[in-house]
């Protein structure tokens, strides 16, 4: 019998636009991992398909899910179902997100299954932490802000985000 370590499975997920662009700038963090990407604009597929793949690693997979804002209840449910499907298909060891609602869903569900979770608050949140980030903080193994001055505990004894730098 021989034990072969398989690469760590990473799911990197964010809504399209600024969240996605910031998420993509983190990719050296999962170099050598077996990675899947998910976002709300299927148009980003070619960007992932064109990505160079290190020898011995599977090509990154790509998923899309429906876009939804905080007030679109029906769309939020569709988005939640879509995120559940992606997690079931991927069974990642680690989930990394920059937001927004879909990232919240992904982290909550991943944590239910005891997976590692990373939330990086968007650099756009320079005056206050994002609402979804605050709500998901307790389910994040690593909760990051990109602004040093926002490092403070939530409430009196709540979790505090860490600052380790910016995506720029």
């Amino acid at each position: 019998m021989m034990l072969v370590q398989r690469p760590i499975r990473v799911l990197a997920l964010a809504s399209s636009g600024g969240h996605w662009i910031q998420l993509r700038r983190l990719r050296p963090a999962w170099l050598g991992c077996d990675v899947a990407y998910a976002t709300s604009n299927a148009g980003y597929r070619s960007e992932i398909e064109e990505e160079e793949v290190a020898p011995g690693l599977p090509a990154p997979r790509f998923y899309s899910f429906p876009d939804a804002s905080r007030w679109q209840k029906a769309r939020l449910i569709l988005q939640l179902l879509s995120v559940i499907r992606i997690l079931l298909l991927e069974r990642p060891d680690v989930v990394i997100t920059t937001g927004a609602s879909a990232g919240y869903f992904a982290l909550r569900i991943a944590k239910l299954f005891g997976r590692r979770t990373v939330w990086l608050d968007s650099i756009a949140n320079s005056a206050e932490l994002s609402l979804s980030g605050q709500r998901v903080a307790r389910y994040a193994d690593l909760w990051l802000t990109q602004w040093d001055h926002l490092v403070a505990p939530l409430g009196k004894a709540g979790p505090a985000p860490s600052f380790r730098g910016q995506v720029l």
């Binding site: 760590i8 983190l26 804002s69 997976r115 690593l142 990109q146």
Partner: protein, 176 residues
């Protein structure tokens, strides 16, 4: 060429109108725009060619062709302009006008006002002079030192968490 973009969500009529007005006075400049879905009562510019949305690959092509970007103060637009070393004029969406769900773009505009190549128009009144300033700004080589990736310290922090998932048994060994 000037490329206007308002991001992938809501339209931003105040900016589209301001650019349209500028265009009317400066017909010598070619402008194209991605302005969102205007809807029934939304503003439809008449002095430049526009689309509601463009595909990501098309977006990159348009960005490449442009000499100046005009955009809402969204991170996607700002980072894209920096990556392509293009001067960018940003105007923040305001929640009191129903342009966004909060005023975070106002904070973004302020925190990026000192960056090279970034020109901030806090309101539509400032926009013409900011566009003119961006047009005068030297064709930048600043993109040469703009990294394609996040800061190393941030990447390292995330990598440490990923690797710990492997040790934790996340990377279950397979029998062969």
């Amino acid at each position: 060429m000037i490329f206007l973009t308002v991001g992938t969500q809501l339209p931003f009529d105040r900016l589209a109108r301001a650019v349209d007005n500028w265009c009317a006075e400066r017909p010598d400049h070619e402008v194209i725009g991605q302005i969102g879905e205007p809807g029934r009562n939304g503003y439809r510019p008449t002095h430049f060619e526009w689309w509601p949305f463009v595909e990501p690959s098309e977006f990159v092509r348009r960005l490449d062709q442009s000499s100046v970007i005009v955009a809402h103060a969204g991170m996607g637009s700002i980072i894209s302009a920096m990556l392509h070393a293009k001067p960018i004029v940003i105007m923040p969406r305001r929640d009191e006008f129903g342009e966004h769900r909060n005023n975070h773009q106002y904070a973004t505009a302020k925190s990026f006002s000192e960056r090279p190549l970034v020109h901030v128009a806090m309101t539509e009144t400032d926009l013409p002079s900011r566009i003119e300033a961006a047009l005068r700004s030297p064709a930048a080589s600043a993109g040469d030192d703009f990294s394609r990736f996040a800061e190393t310290s941030l990447i390292d922090a995330i990598r440490t968490t990923i690797v710990s998932a492997g040790r934790q048994g996340g990377s279950r060994s397979a029998r062969q």
